[in-house]
Subunit: 307 residues, 2 copies
């Protein structure tokens, strides 16, 4: 049981219709690892931060058995910084600031003890960095999951396609699936994207849930309808973290188990959005997750006897 | 087993990104009754048409045991006519033409044999007409389901609120639920709307599925992801028709049976959108519906043993 997570560890300034938070801890790897830690107890992070990053957060990661041997601290450097503003509907956001800082020269180095990790989660990053991590692995992980975004589709489509061809599962949102495939129908989009290499595709639809495709089957999981969605930042990463954390815990990559993993990922994401940044994830217990799973079951299960 | 359906029987001119069809048969009651006829065999329509309405369609209704004693034919009159154009994403549309024609002076008269109908479906119409139908019923139906739209929320909110207070189930889309309640969160919106009178609320989210609320429970049904969505016109009405048709067939209005009814309604809607207007509904068999139910089960069912 071991999971390697690569991605940003960063600061975010977030504006939502409900308030604003300045330079709170964020980053794809942070959300992924925290969310995975509800399930698996051996997660390592590969990332880079500056000297400005708070020790408190590093202690929180340690407390959850998240190994940070692969987290480079650059002397005198500043951590990656993003600022964004959500629209009234929370489904769209504008990026206000992106400061790469220490991420600009990031050269990922996988710690020895994770060179044979069972599961590898490539959070959204330059495709070249995602490739560099894959190339360091001593044995092929059971499953490589890759997240990416529209920015790379526009800036470096060839490099992105090469990276996508190397992974088992691609996770993108619905707009990105349409952009990557040139197809409006998500079914047609999925067929084209699966031909690019991955065996599985997860299309994230935010408050409208998520779809899992392989070449033969489709599974749909709703997002839990919530009384208050406070801050969507990190929801996709929390989803991915819960997904791969559950797979690592169970060591079962069948389609049926991936369905379960998607429900656990959705449960983790449903907590993430209830407070700013990672605040809610730090409060949640395994029991809370299980309570929420019950809500998912009650939300979607029905019983129709087949003829 | 009997179902009374009130609503428009009309002509539509529909522009979608995939083509255009001129003056095809449409109307809420047409879609509702056709879709209900997959399940229940005793449906009556209350509506009004002009002399321009094709006899062929009336024969098609008859063939499906849809009683048209309550369908008034106005001599020299023209049927209600709507024309609309869908945006590229098919989730939004602009109305180009609305000609009320014979609908302007419509005075609904419920035929004797439907005055004690078990189920009453009020398709989208002036709230006053929906009320007139309810007031004619000799006994309270087991369930009254009402559809409405944003137009009435703006044009006559008091009259609409009075009508909503008289029904058991209200069906509206997500934007309308937000407008009617003044709440963005659909959970909060549902709580407010249920306080207006109905025991149940169905929020239709188009390609993103539908939510069923009562004061204690929530059920979510996805829309079936389709390779091609050709024309969304009538999808909501087909959904409502399948929903109430299944309830009339089974004569069971428990929450658990409503869940099943929503899946059957979603199956009917998933066929409706595959061709222009009512064309696809006229081709589909009960067996086709059951095949599609299997797809729904495979799409959403998962198995997580509870602790």
């Amino acid at each position: 049981m071991s999971l390697l997570v690569v991605g940003t560890v960063a600061f975010d300034t977030i504006h939502t219709p409900f308030g604003k938070v300045e330079k709170t801890v964020g980053g794809a790897a942070t959300y992924i690892a925290l969310s995975a830690s509800f399930f698996t107890k051996n997660t390592g992070i590969v990332s880079v931060i500056g000297e400005d990053f708070p020790n408190d957060t590093l202690s929180e990661l340690n407390k959850r058995n998240i190994n940070i041997d692969g987290l480079q601290v650059i002397k005198g450097g500043k951590s990656f910084y993003w600022s964004g503003k959500y629209h009234e509907d929370l489904n769209n956001r504008d990026t206000l600031i992106t400061e790469l800082n220490v991420l600009a020269d990031f050269n990922p180095i996988v710690p020895k003890q994770y060179l044979d990790a069972d599961f590898l989660m490539l959070g959204n990053l330059t495709p070249a960095i995602q490739q560099k991590v894959m190339s360091q692995m001593k044995k092929k992980p059971k499953l490589i999951v890759m997240d990416t975004m529209n920015f790379w589709m526009e800036a470096m489509p060839a490099e992105l396609a090469k990276t996508i061809a190397m992974v088992d599962v691609l996770t993108i949102n619905d707009a990105e699936a349409r952009q990557l495939s040139g197809e409006y129908s998500l079914i047609k989009a999925a067929k084209k994207i699966l031909k690019m290499g991955p065996k599985y595709l997860i299309i994230k639809k935010g408050e409208h849930g998520a779809l899992l495709f392989d070449s033969k089957q489709i599974f749909f999981a709703p997002a839990l309808p919530l009384e208050d969605v406070f801050d969507p930042t990190g929801a996709g990463d929390s989803f991915a973290g819960g997904f791969i954390g559950y797979l690592d815990k169970t060591q079962d990559i069948s389609f049926d188990n991936m369905k379960r993993a998607i429900i656990f990922g959705s449960a983790a994401a449903s907590f993430c959005v209830e407070k700013f940044g990672i605040d809610r994830l730090l409060e949640v217990s395994e029991d809370d997750i299980h309570e929420r799973i019950k809500e998912f079951i009650s939300l979607v299960q029905f019983d129709i006897p087949l003829k």
